[in-house]
């Protein structure tokens, strides 16, 4: 049967691909979830129209990266999928319910008038908030580790719940809100933009604070991570991540006070990237920390081979037309978006 196992290190490639898909999800859906988080605080209904208009053509495509992350995990690492989903049963369900509520709010809000419009404002907000918070707690629970027996999750239903995971939940809320604010600085003007800029200034502090907390917390909680980060020469290499975050923050701070419009968004993305890489280094090579590595969880090489062919061909195509769609809707979000 068709098998590429002898030519490439399939599990490693898949590990990289899934990690990329999840990261793209965080970047892309991150900003539209962030807009949901900021939504009720906007100065006026008109601002809210613009905010929603700025993401309405994209949210569905953005969310598809989540489907690819989940579907890809199922395809390439079924064992990890089968352990992680029951382990995070409750936050996953909360995330899904949140995504439902916020997703339909786009369509319903465009059609509603008067008080029912308020209803969809709030489902959009609370749906985004719940989905983000749930994703953050999943991240926290993941970092803490998952108990496994045989090929199944063996922990308590609430094993994911801890002070740390609640904190990461909160951290992600602020993080996405910052992404959302930076997006709005780029895509809107006048009042909305001014307001988004003020939000961003305010949020930076929180994001930096939480990042510091998580970075200190992880090595304290886990000796393996401590050993990794605080041994020589790793220590020096790994400083790249925190140091570049500091640089990015400084640039961001200056941009926000100098009316830069586009750069802040990419700077925030840079901050996310650095954090993500840091996390990836700490979690390597676990797919179910600290029980199953990505090699142990890998699907049969025939299965990984079949899908890799399609991925290599289709992923560039997908990225291409995704970029094209962003290009079509380039420029400031205006009120003439309608259908």
């Amino acid at each position: 049967m068709f098998n590429l196992d002898t030519f490439i290190d399939l599990p490693l490639v898949w590990y990289g691909l899934i990690a990329t898909a999840i990261f793209l999800y965080v970047l892309l859906d991150g900003f539209d979830l962030g807009i949901g988080i900021l939504f009720p605080f906007a100065p006026s209904d008109k601002c809210r129209d613009r905010m929603m208009g700025s993401v309405a053509p994209f949210w569905d495509g953005n969310e598809t990266w989540l489907v690819l992350g989940g579907g890809g995990l199922f395809a390439a690492f079924p064992l990890a999928y089968a352990i992680l989903m029951p382990a995070f049963y409750m936050p996953v369900i909360v995330m899904l319910l949140g995504l439902i509520l916020r997703g339909v709010s786009f369509e319903f809000r465009f059609k509603a008038h008067g008080p029912s419009r308020r209803l969809w404002d709030y489902t959009f907000h609370f749906g985004s908030l719940a989905a983000t918070f749930a994703q953050g707690t999943i991240l926290g629970g993941f970092v803490q580790g998952v108990s496994v027996q045989g090929r199944a999750f063996s922990g308590e239903p609430l094993a994911w719940l801890s002070a740390f995971s609640l904190m990461t939940g909160l951290a992600l809320v602020f993080g996405y809100a910052l992404l959302g604010a930076a997006w709005l600085i780029m895509k809107t003007e006048d009042i909305t933009q001014d307001w988004a800029r003020r939000c961003a200034v305010y949020l930076i502090g929180f994001v930096a604070f939480f990042m510091a907390l998580v970075s200190i917390g992880m090595p304290i909680m886990n000796p393996q991570i401590r050993a990794l980060w605080f041994s020589l020469p790793n220590f020096f290499y790994l400083q790249i991540m925190p140091l570049s975050c500091v640089v990015l923050f400084v640039l961001l701070w200056r941009d926000l006070h100098r009316n830069h419009e586009n750069r802040p968004f990419f700077l925030v993305q840079g901050v996310f990237l650095m954090n993500y890489i840091g996390l990836g280094v700490s979690m390597w090579p676990w797919l179910v920390p600290f029980e199953v590595t990505f090699r142990q969880a890998a699907a049969a090489p025939e299965s990984q081979s079949l899908l890799i062919v399609g991925t290599v061909i289709l992923l560039p195509v997908i990225l291409g037309y995704t970029a094209y769609c962003y290009y079509i809707f380039r420029g400031k979000s205006s009120h003439d978006i309608h259908y």
Binding site: M1, F2, G53, A56, P57, D60, G61, E63, T64, L66, V67, L68, G70, G71, G72, F74, A75, A76, P78, L79, Y81, A82, I83, M85, P86, Y89, V92, I93, L96, L97, L99, I100, G103, V104, E107, K111, A112, R117, A152, F153, P157, A299, A300, E302, S303, L306, L307, G310, T311, L314, I318, Y321, C325, I328, F329, H335, D336, I337, H338, Y339
Partner: protein, 462 residues
């Protein structure tokens, strides 16, 4: 409260609920996307603004339905893991790549170009817009291709081996993807989606004709829908029959349950109605047509048809559900065929657009496609029980190690959220239908917007 309930049963109820909710939307969006492509093509070709106005009206309904389809679909892709983790672990090698291809080839395509289709009017050329509509329509069909392939493999598995570790391993991808029931299921489901859409569009057209509103638009909608009823409804009967014969070959016990036959016999009757009773193993109050079952299934008057008693009881699916769901689906299929016949006759008498009773009939059939689709899936899925992968893996072995409380609570949460979402969706769709097409697209729809500038008002209303 859920502690003494069987987690497998709860997981089944939860999955059945979420997947049944999901399929309502694809059943409509698959058909509607293709139809919108045709409408837009007619517009580009003829320049007749009626087509454009029809498009603009239905694309709003499409957006609402599509949105609900997407969010309920995302739930499903995670539920394989949350509710059926053992199943995911064991069959992941096979089903994973199929679902992966669905995401890569279909979901991104649909999701990205949907944005262009909805919001791109002023930003791309009409031809590019038309291309976006076609891409979305093709995307929905590709999506159906992969997911139905995955589902059909669970019905008629082949091309795999089971390793010493109990996992499924692929041995031949072509056999897996094009498994025996797949072509039938793909054809049957696609047609089902087209019929569902046709009867919704036709029902709405009939409603306008009946109320003498938007008559010129309504004639187009109604006429196109009736064309589908005339030609496609009978096709569905043929395809369904072939599908059934295929099932007879691969899942005979399902067919016996559909027919409500307990004893193996030659010249078996066709049970039209009755009440299959699993306790006494008989179908009570049966109204039968002699020998017809043999004729349909073996194409000979006294061919042998197997009865359920040929299999041990623990291999029987829940007969009552399968039996009745099948009758509901076929019954609706027959009603649809009659609709086509009436339409053809009325057309010949030149009375297609002004026959009141026929308009009421078509309005009544508006939701019929959805009911038939659900009933059909109930036949297929419940008829597969007690197996999750036909003949190879049982549903009871597949369930996640998740407690009844969690599954039960999340089921309640899904029911609550879905009812809210569904209620609101139906409410807004009905609103859009009552409002009808915007006949004068330039300055009209601004009445209630409390003095906002026209463009804002329009954004708010759409």
């Amino acid at each position: 409260m859920f502690d003494h309930l069987d987690p497998t049963l709860l997981a089944r109820i939860q999955f059945a609920f979420t997947v049944s909710f999901h399929i309502l939307f694809p059943a409509f969006t698959i058909g509607l996307a293709s139809w919108l492509a045709v409408v837009e093509w007619r517009w580009l070709k003829t320049g007749n603004p009626l087509y454009r106005e029809i498009y603009r009206m239905w694309v709003k309904i499409f957006a609402v339905t599509f949105g609900m389809g997407v969010v309920s679909g995302v739930v499903l892709s995670y539920q394989f893991g949350t509710n059926w983790s053992v199943f995911s672990d064991r069959t992941g090698n096979i089903l994973g790549p199929l679902l992966g291809y669905e995401v890569l080839t279909a979901f991104f395509l649909e999701a990205s170009f949907l944005g262009v289709m909805l919001f791109g009017w002023q930003r791309v050329s009409p031809r590019m817009h038309f291309a976006a509509t076609i891409i979305v329509a093709v995307g929905t069909l590709i999506s159906a291709f992969w997911i139905l392939s995955a589902n059909s493999w669970m019905q008629t598995p082949q091309g795999f081996r089971i390793g010493a570790d109990g996992l499924f391993y692929p041995t031949n991808w072509i056999d897996i993807i094009f498994n025996p029931s797949f072509p039938h299921r793909f054809a049957h489901m696609t047609i089902a989606a087209y019929l569902t859409t046709a009867f919704v569009v036709g029902g709405v057209g009939a409603f306008y004709l009946f109320r003498k509103q938007f008559v010129r638009h309504a004639r187009i909608m109604f006429g196109m829908a009736m064309l589908m009823a005339v030609f496609v409804a009978p096709t569905q009967l043929l395809v369904g029959d072939m599908h059934g014969l295929n099932t007879l070959e691969h899942q005979p016990v399902k067919v016996s349950a559909m027919e409500g036959l307990w004893d193996t016999q030659r010249g078996a009757p066709l049970v039209l109605f009755g009440w299959p009773d699993e306790a006494t193993e008989e179908t009570r109050y049966a109204i039968e047509l002699p020998k017809m079952s043999s004729l349909i299934l073996t194409h000979s008057l006294d061919g042998e048809v197997k009865g359920l008693k040929d299999w041990p009881r623990e291999e029987h699916p829940p007969v009552l559900w399968v039996f009745w769901s099948f009758r509901i689906m076929v019954g609706i299929g027959v009603l649809m065929i009659f609709t086509g016949l009436f339409a053809a006759v009325l057309h010949l008498k030149k009375r297609l657009f002004d026959t009141g009773w026929f308009q009421i009939w078509c309005m009544a059939l508006t939701p019929s496609g959805f009911i038939a689709v659900l009933a059909g899936w109930f036949v297929t899925e419940i008829g597969r029980q007690p197996y999750i992968v036909s003949g190879v893996m049982r549903t009871a072995e597949a369930v996640s190690p998740v407690g009844g409380i969690q599954v039960g609570l999340s089921l309640l949460a899904f029911v609550a959220v879905y009812l809210l979402v569904f209620g609101a969706g139906v409410y807004y769709i009905i609103g859009l239908i009552r409002k009808g097409p915007d006949v004068d697209t330039s300055e009209k729809d601004d009445g209630r917007k409390q003095g906002r500038p026209a463009l804002v008002g329009r954004l708010a209303s759409e």
